[in-house]
Symmetry: C2
């Protein structure tokens, strides 16, 4: 079989040799604009449309969980092309670490203690009560469920919101548009791990952010396009939202003059909450290619109507 | 039975009524200097020596896990007095939250990202590898074991050091003075949750801190007297120790001019890692008093020769 590789950042070499080690018989090559020799599969990150229309291409494997950079090509995508996302592949653990760090820090008032340290001020602050600190997770796929497990480990009450009902141990499920307001109103800390689709773009707009309880916290590890950044900034500055930890932004890299950089109640990280781990990701993709070659079904096939 | 209450900080009232609700037949009173009416038990925090020598006193219950403030009276303590420490009583969960927050933050390089944010700098930083980030816990009693469980949940390799061998699932046990060097040399993050005794006072001196791998982190949630503060500061400033999170200090409140306040690689919190929870603590103490009244054995009796 023939496999194309494309990723705009970093050196392709270690990826190709790692994939080759799992599929010794495959013919691998880096895709370039103008390449017309037919191929069966492609392993990609942020692919141009031409690659997705490559002759012979049956299945494209995305080197991440979010496939919005592929689906944004919309109607121009070939109808018969199968799109496969990464299932977890080590990202769940990383997301759980990042989100647990942020939630524990807010729950234990670490930003308040940091402000006191700046003033050399030794002062006891009333601890938060866990019964009054429910955490809401927007998006209860594989990654959302992994995050929920870590928050449950610490005894947080966890609510999950998703498009379809999910039965996850220890998590109260909220479903669809009609339960979104109730979910938001019960989220002292809100974690966004949704796929980016036309239905979720801008979901954290001013109206929805205002439904959070006063003094709540926002953690976004999904996509910058989920958030109305001006509204979030205004609500942080007027105190309705007590703090935000953001790993993703509408424009990345976040521009040097962006007000998020200097807002003390906003923590900015450079899209590092979960990185694609080469070994585990390529092992997973190679396994799926072998299954497809044997005519077996695979997990992670994207439903284009849902957008994930 | 007659029970004395003494705590130098805060209002005694809610404590007395809570304890009374568990022991309706008990005669409770706040102890004052000069009180000579015999009593059976005392519930105390930082008691003066006169209270510990109170007429008739059989057992003193400490409102905390660390009994160093009682044992410091040494030979002047009445020989027959039983001293009982709190067993966990909600402190384990709090310690696990605090330490997990600190360890996850260091592991995920959050202080480095915070420094980048101050410069409006968007830059990927190479993630730490969990296989090269073992965490060492000094002190594997109830609280150390609870911390270990949370770190294990996140997949950290956890080593525990204690005076006697402990068999804790997922934790590699190091025992006694002869294994301390090996333990320290393997601790990329070091957590101190030891009791303060003559044997542990100053254990984090310069010689021992230098045995940590270069670029390691120190988290102290035990007592300030475990640490040589000058040595720790010097090793943070010369880079051998990459950061420290300290909840306890040799002098508390930490004096306004203390260099820890302004060292950017040191996080200072005002002895809040685990607060004594009134309800659960008094429920536990009341349960032990009932057992003693029935002639049954209780947990948490302090061994004066060990110091905890």
């Amino acid at each position: 079989m023939k496999i194309l590789f494309y990723a705009p950042e970093g050196r392709p070499e270690p990826w190709l040799s790692e994939l080759q080690s799992h599929l010794p018989d495959a013919q691998l090559r880096v895709w370039h604009e103008g390449d017309q020799e037919p191929a069966d599969y492609a392993v990609v990150w942020h692919p141009p449309l031409a690659l997705l229309n490559h002759p012979g291409l049956k299945t494209v494997f995305n080197l991440g969980a979010g496939v919005d950079a592929i689906l944004r090509h919309g109607e121009q995508l070939p109808a018969g092309l199968d799109i496969v996302r990464l299932d977890d592949a080590g990202m769940g653990d990383q997301m759980a670490e990042y989100v647990s760090w942020a939630v524990l820090g807010y729950f234990r008032r670490m930003p308040d203690f940091a402000r006191q340290q700046q003033q050399a001020q030794w002062r006891f602050l009333k601890p938060n009560d866990k019964r009054q600190f429910p955490v809401g997770i927007l998006g209860m796929g594989v990654l959302g469920q992994r995050i929920a497990a870590s928050l449950s480990h610490f005894g947080f009450q966890v609510n999950g919101w998703s498009r379809s009902a999910k039965s996850v141990p220890g998590v109260t499920s909220f479903v669809g548009d009609e339960q979104l307001d109730a979910f938001l109103g019960a989220s002292r800390a809100l974690v966004c791990i949704l796929p980016l689709t036309p239905a979720t773009e801008g979901i954290l707009n001013r109206a929805n952010l205002e439904k959070l309880p006063a003094g709540s916290y926002v953690i976004n590890v999904a996509r910058g396009q989920h958030v109305d950044e001006d509204a979030l900034l205004a609500l942080v500055q007027n105190g309705h939202i007590a703090g935000a930890t953001l790993d993703v932004f509408r424009t990345e890299p976040l521009p040097p003059g962006h007000p998020f950089w200097s807002e003390p109640r906003i923590t900015v990280t450079p899209h590092i909450a979960a990185v694609t781990l080469r070994q585990v990701s390529l092992e997973q993709i190679a396994g799926k290619i072998r299954k497809l070659e044997n005519g077996e079904p695979i997990a992670g096939l994207v439903d284009r109507t849902k957008g994930y």
